[in-house]
């Protein structure tokens, strides 16, 4: 099967470029006459032939009989694909669902490319228990939402329905130990009777001024 893009002529390329520019500028495609005017073609029929050729070659489509009905074949928007819009989750009181809309303080955009793990939301760090990992009070931690975590990973977890905590996870048999990394902070040992949930993995960090 040939999927190679069919070659367009120089003239067709100019026509396509003009259409692109006008859609960009006006939000509406030009008429055949306007295209002709721009390229010095006095006959709309000649323009129509170019446009039809471009259609046959898959570069655009024509809405039949519709004025200014040229549509560019949409290339996937690089902005949309690349840029994440992450909700910043506010304080979470006991038992409250994580993604209730009232808890989204605001949304921040950031390039997908920054992260290895795809982040799903941000949480604001409270306290300095993870300074040794470069996670400081006030930082926004990007969390990849998953309940699965391996020994030694930095996780976002909730203990006893309480608010979020960012800690390094250690399994000790069926016990869980959450390890801070800062002088004066002690490990949290979670016994099996306690309410405990891993919300996700540390995926990155954002810090403002």
């Amino acid at each position: 099967m040939r999927t190679m893009t069919i070659q367009i002529t120089q003239r067709q390329s100019n026509v396509l470029a003009f259409i692109r520019a006008r859609i960009e500028r006006d939000g509406q495609s030009p008429t055949l006459e306007e295209i002709g005017e721009a390229l010095g073609i006095d006959s709309v029929s000649a323009v129509l032939k170019h446009v039809r050729s471009l259609e046959a070659k898959g570069r655009l489509t024509l809405e039949p009989h519709r004025a200014r009905g040229i549509r560019l074949v949409r290339e996937p928007d690089p902005m949309d694909a690349d840029t994440l819009e992450l909700p910043l989750i506010g304080r979470i009181a006991a038992g409250e669902p994580l993604f209730s809309e009232v808890r989204v303080d605001r949304r921040l955009r950031v390039s997908r490319a920054l992260f290895r793990l795809r982040p799903d939301y941000l949480v604001k760090v409270v306290g300095d228990s993870m300074r040794g990992e470069g996670i400081f009070d006030g930082d926004l931690v990007a969390v990849h939402a998953t309940p699965v975590a391996r020994h030694g990973q930095v996780v976002a977890a909730r203990v006893g329905g309480d608010r979020f905590t960012i800690k390094r996870l250690y399994w000790k048999g069926d016990m869980v130990r959450l390890l801070p990394n800062s002088p004066g902070f002690r490990p949290i040992d979670v016994d099996p009777t306690e309410d405990f949930a891993i919300e996700g993995l540390f995926a990155g960090l954002l810090r403002g001024s």
Copy 2:
């Protein structure tokens, strides 16, 4: 002078919402008939009156006699206004200009709202001399480009035409001291004969997984 937005009626609001949705979906505004169809109005004249009212109230404009000629008054795109596209500056060899295009490794997007100081570019941190400030090897530091820095601020600077360094700045008379914050790293004292430049202020930090 009144700049208050003139109140629109419920019906007009519905019309406007539909136009907005169609432009969003199709990239072209609907015809009067299509609007009528959607809102259960059998007469295009009635629709035209609504559209004219919206025009009088400054919510849209009409390209006269043009098919699908309704144009929304463009509100400044929140995406454009809010989202920065920061160049990530690569290694800088001696004497090389900071913004030569070859030195831009890639661009990352991030919300303006994250930062207090507007960042102009990103630099990748090499080494752990600023661990105590939560700036780790491999982090991307956002820099607000300015040659002016006050005593005690974290700056991006270049010493002896060499590569970037992120340090806390201290003035000692006309001497400059660049202070790391990590065990085993010593202050850099810059004497007045040395080539030295403050490139900008620490504006924030991005870290991937």
